[in-house]
Amino acid sequence: MAINTTLEALSDNGFGAAAAAYTVALICSAVEFSSRRTAATRSAGREYATVGAPGALLTRDGTPGGVPIVPIAGAQAGIGHIGRVGNEPKIPWGERFGKAGLLVTILGFAAHVFSIVTRGMSAGRMPLGNMYEFTSLICATVIGVWLAVKLRQRALGIGVFVLIPVVLLMYVAGAILHTPAAVLQPALNSYWKWIHVTTISISSGILLFSGVASVLYIVRTRWEVRGARPDSVWAKLPEPATLDRIAYRTAILAFPLFTFAVITGALWAEVAWGRYWNWDPKETCAFITWVIYAGYLHARSTAGWRGTKSAWISVVGFASMMFNLFFVNMVISGLHSYAGLN
């Protein structure tokens, strides 16, 4: 089958656009996050503005000693009533950056999906034939999950932490893993391949998102344990309960999908290699990851293992997933390196 190079170039452009958009979105959400008010100080700030004693200032971070942005009563005391805000307060810059970041993320996601689809069309097959292609799908999945979560919880401001691994992976995919679109070697030419690799990639993407939430959970609880200083940047993170819920809900979505992917992998191995389980390094690592996530789900309902301990287990699971995706493929050779025939 011939490769359509026009489509391939289009796909590469889409990928580049997505990577650029995610990078811009990362910067935007970093600005948003750093200028974000914490839950505690936000309410204090609001109260401060409504009380609006003469000379009081609405400050950037909501604390009385912060940098003033709009002098409320002082400037308007002469023309308006004391305690009333004359004009609608301007949308803070952080929020604007947040909105811009979200918009750019959505545009990047569209470009990304376009890139994946055209890549598949250029090679006349599902775009999951090599590391570049499935890293791309993993990134798209993370962004997709993030957008879905954001849709339900508009106030959730963890975009910057979701985008950091995605942007890293996008650059790794584009700069190191990228290969021209090509036809598949016979060992990969099976319909099991599409089922197996699609589900592995999507579940990896979701687990990556879950892992980010667990890391943030650990950071946030540590901040609380260390005195919950309101001026710390970590005060801006969502409540631990929220992060824990996000990590858990995404994990229970991804875990059955991952189980399914491993089972289809075994079915495919039976067809391609003559045995459904070979303890090939990739399989072994998938098994380890599976066991760790099984441990995570059990730990969450075991007294003495809830909270930070469970979150650590989730992070270890996430690490083993990433290790399996990259290190095992690139460093350790096994059946999954497709060095079998030829």
């Binding site: 036809v183 059955p256 290699w273 459904y276 303890w279 789900l297 309902s301 007294a303 025939l341």
Partner: protein, 552 residues
Amino acid sequence: MSVRDDTHLRNDDQLDAPPASAPPPPPRGIGAWVAFARNIWRQLTSMRVALILLFMLALASLPGALLPQWNLNQAKTATFLINHPTLGPILNRLGFFGVFSSPWYAAIYLALFTSLIGCLVPRTWDFVKALRAKPVPTPRNLFRLPHQAGVAAAGEPEAVAGRIEAGMARWRRTRRSEPAGVLTISAEKGFLREVGNLVFHLSLLGLLAAIAVGKLLGFEGTIVVTEGGGFCSGSPSVYDTFRPGLLVDGTRLAPFCVDVDSFTAEYTDAGQATLFNAAIRYRTGAAAADATGTDGWTARNLQVNDPLRISGERLYLLGHGFTPSFQVTFPNGEVREASQTFQPSDGNLTSEGAVKFLNPPGYTGDEVRQHQLAIVGIFAPTAHSPGGVMTSIAPAPKNPGVAIQLYRGDLGMEDGASQSIFGIDQRQVDNGKLTKLTRANLMVGESMTLDDGTTITFTGYKQWVQLQTSYDPAQGYALIFAITLLTGLMLSLTIKRRRVWYRIKPGPDGGSWVEVGGLARTDQAGYGEEFDSLVDLARDRPPPLAKPGSSR
């Protein structure tokens, strides 16, 4: 080791309750041993130990991924041992190069599965009891529950209760009476969650059993067959390598015969393979047992990802390579034909091998051993010889050539030691018994002549395929258990378990006062809007419009 959230199993008041304090006085004698054993058993079946065992299993699997393993790659493992002369042998003795068959690995998973059984049995029993029991009585104070509401309802308690029950078709529920005309309804939902949980864990046991049976009764045999050749399965000795299960003695292999007619590989211009196809004929059963018969052959294409399945045994195309052929004219004029499978050594199928003539014609007695002939070298399907050094630049046989080195003398085959079929014993060269002669690069049809007049012609090549017969009688069961495992997992993660209680008290002017309490015991699921609709059941008017937005 199943998840302990005991909504249906225990009285909720006991959840998370600390164990009874004031330990009983230590028993003595046999009682002490029983107590000790019981204590160990309790420890083993506790969730904490199960979790630790689970992580030990993950940790113990790690060397299986990071270190080379004997059963996967012997050459790589041997190289690792040579490169790590101190650490290697120690690791080898500890079983780190065969992790998944090592005793310590078995110890971990057996302990884990014992723990699992120890947890599953009582839990299944509890579940069966809970299935037969009525939903627990309504707590005295419903307002202590996480979800509560109180509503005034029109109608007598009896009518209100009937209305509520009519709206709870999918709940397990029971109605009880309290003094002073008070009615209560206890209801619960989500039993499938526990069913899924139990099915998931039982499936793990089933899967382990299926794997074990496969290890006991299965086998794998590989064989290299050149185009035009074939083999009949039926005895392990047919195969080049045979890996039997622990209970396989090789006497009960299902007989089948396979002939390989031809092999085709297709490549892109860049040299990437797109198709491997072996045209084979096979026959099974009684036809195969009749060695002289010619009946019952079925033609089939055997491809990667498309094995042949014959009554439980499966035949796979695993590899391919080349078998160069040579014609040798000895000094006495006698002509011998010989061909030998060569071993691919790179991606372009540059293949190494040796053709040995142990009984050269025209010699007798000790002279025979002094005039044995060996053709040692490489075969290149697309030969390229810059500066006379031949390599292959493409895997397809477009320009086949051989680069061969000739040896004459004693090949050392009579001392009983085994030799590689792909090379000669270098010690025979070193001790002078084997003489190194000339070398040459030959294309198909070209010849070379030795000092004694022997001519060697490279006449062509055939292709060989490596086939594998696999047998695992339990793999179908493994699949079934994998499916039930996944189904159970999904049930146990998605089904939400709820309890709800109503206390309906007679109110003034023929009305009722209804207290509702709800408890959602599922991890992180919450009750959401469902509780509101349960409260609405008590009212006699239609429920208000759906609440705007999600409260989650």
